[in-house]
Symmetry: D2
Subunit: 346 residues, 4 copies
């Protein structure tokens, strides 16, 4: 079968690989229908993710059809249409019992990282009973691809950890796909104000369209002052870091109100300065999280009930044969104005 | 009246001052019976607390007798014995309504900081109805002095923020008075393990006596390794920082388990490095807090019910005339083995 | 001044009364601009509320202008436009400290009940600093009248107590003003399904317009079966009782899912049967609550941010001279299709 | 093998049965070492539990040794010593994902109810990976039998649902084994007062020994008045029903404070009167729960850390050959002063 392979730093290729086979009794083999590319895939390609070694098939998102299941799988059968979670979870280790699927002792984020992923014709998914979700007949499968990773990530790491609440004020630093997914799911809780901050004017226009009440172009160098003006000098109840660099985490510290929360989503490569000399008496919380995807049942219900328009995130569509072009489009978002790209089976 | 005055960096003196008078309708004047010295008082004396200017009467802890009350005070009358909270709270601003008394718009920690404090014969206490607590007849007033600041600080900033829970594992970094107060109140929640970490062998012995299940002398340079061994390589559910320097906050980051919490109590003077490059995917929380003393009613009930032995924290007793000696004893804790010192009215 | 007086069971009259005067230092006198009538006022008129004795001026809702304040009031001044909470709260008793303003030892629901109320030209409001809210210039004061009681009641007793959540299923039994206020505020949390149940076809049409996803006319006698069909046999996560009679509480027990919550809002006059023989192993919660109005700051922010259209609840408007007609219109809601009626100062 | 069989109402017998065999891939066969008898077993014997039909081997508690495991079991191997949870849980259905193991779609309380149980030489345990717990070498296996059902039931249904907290006041109505297990685990949260109420003077003496701060013999007919006196007329923060009859649930309604919680543990056979006419404005919660045993990991840690002395509950010991005598001893608790009886393999 065809698959997108990480060949080492800055090298990717479409190659032929054998179709995957069942290994553990809880495995399923899924014939992929639609997948997408994540910012993390770009990190891997840069060589930044040590757990992912050359030769790996990338991808941890998508929908597909069950091709076969292991003997311990009870919830799925050949022919079922399924949504694939980016996180595999056994459901029985101490972390899974606490809802921390991301730290499952035999799972977590392994797809397209420690084991082969979804950017291929077929994928093997471990712990299938917990890590796949049935797709109801008639559902929009393209929209569902947004549930594999980006929407639960924005919701769990940003919105839930950030304690977004009715009437509250929220700032989201970073209007890339993950920041925008956070913006969409933050509206589940009807905050009074959602301020979107980014350097890219186009993305801020998109953010307004997605429901931001205010936008700030941080190229001005006045993001902190502007947030303070917008919040009567108090700062925001929730500051969500959706970039992953010291400058944006610094901004979050500058704009968080006393009693507020900084929810980190960004993948950081270096330490940041934490200004405890200013924050020690400010009664704040700072949270980090790798998405657990435990909100998936809720998100599926919300999507069915049309409480969220997940397809807003999709800007481009490609056939699997065009996956290298899809990567280029996604990687050059400032030029292509891409958010999420859908890659369909040929 | 006699009072202990901050005269500028490293200068203190007992001087005569006029007896304070009622200013606002919600004020009370309290004749002090017993007070104590806080680590923060030493910070002020070093010149580290910008809000406290020379000429200030220090002290924010103690018990006394109501001497007079303003016309808006309804809960207290002349002659009532009262416990003084270190935090003054109006009860009606947006922060007080949220239980954040520490950020009261007309209160917070002002006693012995922005207004004259309790290390004197009399003190004026603003917002008396909310900031004083009645002392039941027969109560041990010396024990109650420990409730003005140190016990609610350990409990709110360390134990509550740290989400200490039955069966959990806790490390407290710093076995000074505040760390030990945290240790005492952590036991309200029956964690399975409380590991106390300090450089001072004597204080670790005290910690064992106060209920620590394990002690680690960090002079060994092996605190991190030892905690990891004690927790089967997982780290602790709750790491409580009770010192206020980069090294101890660093240790907390090294020993917190996935899904755990770092609760900061220490007063920090400089930024610390936050290792988001390691922690971004560990699902942790970091909290800061200036004590709100909202747990005071609960602590009073627990003290009455003998669920905590607050007097364990008291090592030395002085008359007010000996307050300079009391300061010396408290400031040289390693030599004097002092924890909290009681200063009684002459 | 003119005032609406409860003269004894089923007797009401507009009479002349002296303008109220300040009694306690925390009082304010408010010149009323707009008030309204509550279902509870009708209960009083039937003689069902023992705490309210003949001679009382009714009314516990409204907006007005500050006419004078006592010496302990610091947040308001003559001329300020204010929203009046139906609950008076001292902010310092043990209940107020816990956010249970409804049980304030010197307040609670006393306006138009134990002391004279708002259906008059002037009203005395105790504990003014906490029980009044400033109205920003330019705000729609008519909409704000809905915040005195009905919206916080629906929100606190129904939505918060009922743990309404994104993706969840909610049934509201009773589509009167309070049920509809619950419906409006439930949408702050984006539940997937809100089923409205009532006997009145008109009110169900209104409910659809207000955002109900489904409606059931319980006149059919098939409400339980219909809810079960709509929820795949599971029942609802949240069942909200907004009537106050045994039959509707019974229905809530029949439709609540395992793990769900029954939130009672209705004012009950007789005991109900609780089917513990069926519910003991169903992991449910049942809650009761007299509104605390602690959500007022949040509701004010949500109203300002246009997250809720409170004016939807207002169907009729009267001058104070027409208040008896306003009562008739409100009391015969099935005929007049009234929800809330606004009564303006002449 | 020998097994205790429910033969129909009021008929029980020890009979020979074939050793159970693996059916599902997730099953284990356990050779029993120690089991016990539950109040529910007596209910079954009276014919009160419709789901348990004649011919069933009773028992849902105990420790044993793994004899064999199905191919999907990964956490256990032949020879492992294990604790058996009374609740079987798949870990992957919608209820298990929410921590409601009691409502697992293919599990829940089925052992000794819908499938054969533990009062036998061997038992088949479904969903073994989640429903069994490893016993560390050197642990006291007799104490661990108390963790199969009675301690998690008291803790989850009584203590957690009842929101027992430091400094709070608790009443437990019923000092039988389950009430006493609740008493033991309530102390994890250091409430200021635990009032134990029962008709049996001996059990009240035991309750004092187990840590109750106060006891009330309800034979006096003055339980309500006495609780009110003990709580300065406020009632208790938490009232726990541990009997299962209308009179005791009535008492809980009489003694719960405004803002408090009634946590039901008792198995009820008939409806009770809920006094909403008195409670509608008291801001209380009432909870029901079938134990989920999700607290098992915490309880195991607490037992290891000696935070609870589970063996206090064990009063009698029998060999399996004496199981009929064990039943008689347990059934006549008032005479035999039995709490829990241990039944050891011969």
């Amino acid at each position: 079968m065809k698959a997108l392979i990480y060949k080492g730093p800055n090298i990717r290729a479409v190659e032929n690989r054998p179709k995957p086979e069942l290994i553990d009794p809880g495995d399923a083999i899924i014939k992929m229908l639609k997948t997408t590319i994540c910012g993390t895939d770009l990190h891997i390609l840069k060589g930044d993710v040590a757990t992912c070694t050359p030769g790996r098939i990338l991808g941890h998102e998508g929908v597909g059809v069950v091709d076969s299941v292991g003997p311990a799988v009870t919830a799925f059968h050949k022919g079922d249409h399924v949504l694939i979670s980016c996180v595999s979870a056994c459901g029985k280790c101490e972390y899974c019992r606490r809802g921390m699927y991301s730290h499952c002792l035999t799972g977590g984020w392994i797809l397209g990282n420690k084991i082969d992923g979804t950017q291929a014709e077929y994928v093997r998914t471990p712990h299938a009973d917990i890590s796949l979700y049935p797709i109801p007949a008639g559902a929009d499968e393209e929209a569902l691809v947004m549930l594999s990773d980006i929407l639960p990530t924005g919701f769990e790491c940003g919105v839930l950890n950030g304690k977004v609440a009715p009437g509250s004020t929220v700032a989201i630093v970073g209007a890339g796909p993950i920041g925008l997914a956070t913006l969409l799911t933050a509206q589940f809780y009807s905050p009074a104000q959602i301020i979107m901050i980014d350097l890219d004017a186009n993305r801020l226009v998109v953010a307004k369209h997605f429901g931001a009440t205010d936008i700030i172009n941080s190229a001005s160098g006045r993001a902190q002052e502007t947030v303070m003006e917008m919040t009567q000098g108090k700062g925001v109840d929730t500051a969500i870091e959706a970039v992953g660099i010291p400058a944006t985490f610094e901004l979050c510290q500058q704009i968080v109100a006393a009693g507020g929360t900084i929810a980190n989503i960004g993948v950081h490569g270096v330490p940041v300065a934490l200004h405890l000399e200013k924050l020690w008496d400010r009664n704040i919380s700072i949270t980090t999280r790798l998405v657990d995807t435990v909100s998936m049942p809720m998100l599926l219900k919300s999507l069915s009930a049309k409480k969220i328009d997940a397809k807003l995130l999709i800007t481009h569509r490609f056939k699997f044969d065009e996956i290298l072009e899809a990567y280029d489009t996604f990687a050059h978002a400032a030029d292509t104005k891409s958010l999420k790209v859908i890659i369909e089976a040929d």
